[in-house]
């Protein structure tokens, strides 16, 4: 067994920034308007009716205090600085080379409404990256406007609306069919777009049956939204038949390529028959996740669907790159401007640094590494692989269950996740709702993490499972080496206690104190 780390997170006991500082303290000064400005416009140009009378209750601290405070907070964030095998999110190295490139004024201080002549560099990168994604997917055109994977799914529903409206069938094509195992964003965005969602249940082989799909499909089906492989690591081998069945009723087929890492360079969405797909650039393409964005869900589709995409689209005319806004059939905008441009640049940089051979190798490594992890995990008593009937080797991740250990010790996936952080290991991903697999956890090694990292991760898990048997209280009360202890959950559903701002907290605290005194 690897020697387990003795770890303790930074614990600064850091106050809230609203509770820091002193009256009159300053962290940032602005010049007064120049005398000629003041003379021209007067002392207070704000209309009297809208002049602010109160002083916003903000901290009054020095520049250094702000720096130190937020550095402390960064240090109290584990943030992948240990080992993070966070399944479904494909934790990758985020290149500082590309990060620093996007901090340059040529990206940071550029406005999207500048004349295209002044934007040729960034447009070239977006155009070239579009070409890279076209080759990886077989699609004909990509846009980067969606601000994440879910927003790309939403884009698909908006494109489907425009497509069916153009054919006069939007009133008839009202249904979206997906699997109960699909990421929640697929049914949720379809519902928000106005479609009725049909969720197909799973069979023992881990995916819905082709018969169930055919029964759900009809002339009412606007589109189907699928991911493959799923988060169990199971690949639906009938996917071509699924797409064909949907096409037989005229429906559009969307490939949620969230789980692209194990199949990149190996599958082509277009060759499998799909009309559209999406890639998460902050996941598969090496752009940082930033704790939840800014992200990009790159949306690509066939030439047939391209007229319905959100505008603008980057196109090359001769040797010049332009933004094509004149797209009369477009579904309209999903979000302002052309997307999280710095993330697109980072994804382009990732694809260039990897190259075709690196991308192929990365998918090889990610699937081999997961199978190595599966092999070692299967030797730990107390955990069980999801879908035991599926005996073939899983793809780039596998969903596991702690149900046996939970039954034996009362310790479940939440407690173990909390305890892992005590060893400097990022808590694992469990599962999206609904939890079809009891006490789930979903590790994914990807191509970043070394065999030694994987071994350490498994050794820590084995150690905690042993603790669960020998000293369950130690695990139940974990973490012990983190900045704070377990958070009490009673406030989160209680209007008298929840507080989304400091001012709300102070008000409720004072109210509670007054009631206690009364």
């Amino acid at each position: 067994m690897t020697r387990l780390p003795t770890f303790h997170a930074a614990k600064w006991d850091e106050p809230l920034v609203m509770d820091m500082g002193r009256p009159g303290g300053r962290g940032q000064l602005f010049p007064a308007p120049e005398p000629e400005v003041a003379e021209a416009v007067g002392q207070n140009p704000v209309p009297a009716a809208m002049q602010r009378k109160d002083r916003p209750v903000l901290p009054e601290i020095t520049e250094f205090e702000a720096q130190r405070h937020y550095l402390h907070l960064s240090q109290m964030t584990l943030g992948m600085m240990g080992v993070s095998l966070f399944g479904t999110c494909t934790m990758k190295y985020n290149s500082k080379t590309s990060e620093f490139a996007t901090w340059r004024p040529q990206i940071a201080e550029v406005h999207p409404y500048q004349h295209p002549d002044t934007l040729q560099g960034v447009l070239e990168i977006m155009h070239d990256f579009d070409g890279i994604l076209q080759s990886l997917s077989g699609m004909d055109q990509f846009v980067f406007q969606p601000g994440g994977g879910a927003d790309a799914a939403y884009t698909m529903t908006a494109v489907a609306r425009a497509y069916w409206a153009d054919r006069g069938q939007l009133g008839q094509r009202t249904e979206m069919v997906t699997s109960i195992q699909a990421h929640p964003c697929n049914p949720a965005t379809a519902a928000a777009a106005g479609f009725t969602v049909i969720n197909l249940p799973l069979e023992e082989n881990g995916y819905p049956s082709l018969e169930a799909l055919k029964a759900a499909l009809s002339e009412r089906t606007a589109l189907i939204m699928l991911n493959n492989p799923d988060d169990m690591g199971i690949y639906n081998p009938e996917i071509r038949e699924w797409v064909q069945a949907a096409k037989d009723v005229g429906a559009l087929c969307f490939y949620d390529h969230a789980n692209f890492n194990g199949v990149m360079g190996k599958l082509s969405a277009r060759e499998l028959g799909f009309d559209a797909c999406m890639f998460m650039l902050h996941k598969t393409f090496g752009a940082p996740k930033a704790g939840g964005g800014p992200a990009v869900g790159a949306f690509g589709c066939t030439a047939e669907l391209a007229p319905y995409m959100p505008a603008p689209v980057v196109v090359k005319q001769g040797e010049r790159y332009v933004l094509d806004e004149d797209r009369p059939k477009s579904c309209g905008k999903i979000r302002e401007f052309w997307g999280n441009v710095p993330q697109v640049v980072k994804a382009y940089a990732w694809a260039r640094a990897m190259g075709a051979e690196g991308i192929q190798l990365a998918s090889d490594i990610s699937v081999v590494a997961n199978n190595y992890m599966d092999h070692r995990l299967s030797q730990l008593p107390g955990i069980a692989r999801s879908n035991p009937d599926v005996t073939k080797r899983r793809m780039e991740m596998t969903r596991w269950s702690l149900a046996p250990l939970h039954e034996e010790t009362g310790i479940g996936t939440v407690e173990i996740a909390n305890r892992m952080a005590d060893y400097g290991i990022d808590p694992w991903w469990m599962s999206h709702e609904p939890w079809i697999v009891p006490q789930p956890f979903t590790p994914e090694a990807g191509e970043l993490w070394s065999k030694e990292d994987i071994d350490l991760w498994i050794d820590v898990l084995a150690q905690i499972m042993q603790e669960a048997r020998e000293n369950p209280e130690l695990v139940r009360t974990a973490p012990h080496n983190q900045p704070i202890a377990q958070v009490k959950g009673d406030a989160f559903e209680d209007p008298s206690k929840w507080a989304m701002t400091w001012r709300a907290y102070l008000r409720k605290r004072d109210q509670a104190a007054a009631q206690g005194a009364a």
Binding site: Q28, R52, T77, S84, V122, P288, V368, A485, A504
Partner: protein, 468 residues
Amino acid sequence: MTGPTRAHPWMANSAPGMLEAMLAEIGAANVAEVFEQIPPEHFRTAPLRLPPQLSSEMELKRDLLAKLRKNATCEENLSFLGAGVWQHHVPAIVDEIIGRTEFATNVWGSLQSDHGRNQAWFEFSSQLGALLNLDVVQLPVYSWGCAIGHAIRMAARKTGRTKVLLPRLSDPERLSVIRTYCQPQEMDSAIEIVLIEADAESGRLDLADLKAKLGADVAAVYFENPAYLGTIETEAAEIARMARAAGAETIVGVDPISLGVMTAPGDYGADIVTGPVQPLGVHMNCGGGVGGFIASRDEPDYVHQYNGFLVSIAETVQPGQLGFGLACPHQNSYGQREHGNDWTGNSTYLWAIAGAVYMSLLGPEGFRELGHLIISRARYAAKLLAEVPGVRIQWPDSTFKEFVVNFDDTGLSVAEINDRLRARGIFGGKDLSGEGLGLGQSALWCVTEVHSAADLRHAATTLSEVLK
């Protein structure tokens, strides 16, 4: 020269022998065996045609910089572009903090292992709440337009009504996003959008038209303060009163950078408030700096309609210690799939941290000084431009940092004028002539704290020269 056996710096298991070692442990003869689930006929046949690999950092950097050098920036040029993304000063500390790898690369851990980030998030909401004078602030969504879209859908769910009133003088970029969120009218759950006329004298909302269109079927009235064309809405409290009388929600969009000098929306009756987060310490990033906040009063009827992450402070099991978690997590799409409120996912949460740092640096006096500086210089700029022959300022005395400059009397189009200015290192304001607003050859100019009085005089002088 990249040899086939060189390990890739981003892949530990690309070192020689690592794959083979793992294959040996799992009893697989080759890599193909681990892909046994995929039917052979599913593998792609088209060759992967990608540009050549740039495996060294040096080559990669050279490629990126060679391309990026073709951009011209608002740092080297004098830019007056705004309209949804604005050039503001970004304190260096903000960039240092959001560049921290713990914040930049992380995803999601436990409430303990994410404690520092969660505190930064809570401090974003708390400080923004102090500027807005509102108790609930959600973590930002993708953009201001998206925030407005969600806010309208919140109001529609809360009231059970399906019509929303928006200003006719709306930003077409945001309006297009809002139309997407409200759905085409063919959909059963569509929200109808009705536009309220503007008062021609001031650019403000026409209250008579608002009164005529308000009714028992209206879920919400939306207006901005300052509005798309820069105008300050002085009748905000009256609009909110009229909406409430009709049983409709008042949704306001505000520029948070104005709130050191302008009345907080929580103080004039706004029910739901939205706005952009980019002004709060985020670079323009070619439009990739945008995000949008949603805020409201702290009432369950509102709280239960939010679509995303509400970070709440909470006690820990250790007496006296405070931590953070998510309030009402089961009402979003992670908890309830298609039955959740709209949807959520990755968003723009790094900008919440930028905003937290930014607001803590400015404090109450910084926001007051900044707001005063911006409106003063913007008004000064408008006065200077108005002196240029053929140039007229629409609504010169009612704007904050943006204002409409009309060129009809120059005989030139905005496009021609901006071409001439660009040749002299000035990016003129956004061309409004194609937006159907009835403003002729007009442009929306934006002036902020980054523009000195000398810059503004230079711009006015240059404009008069190019118009000759």
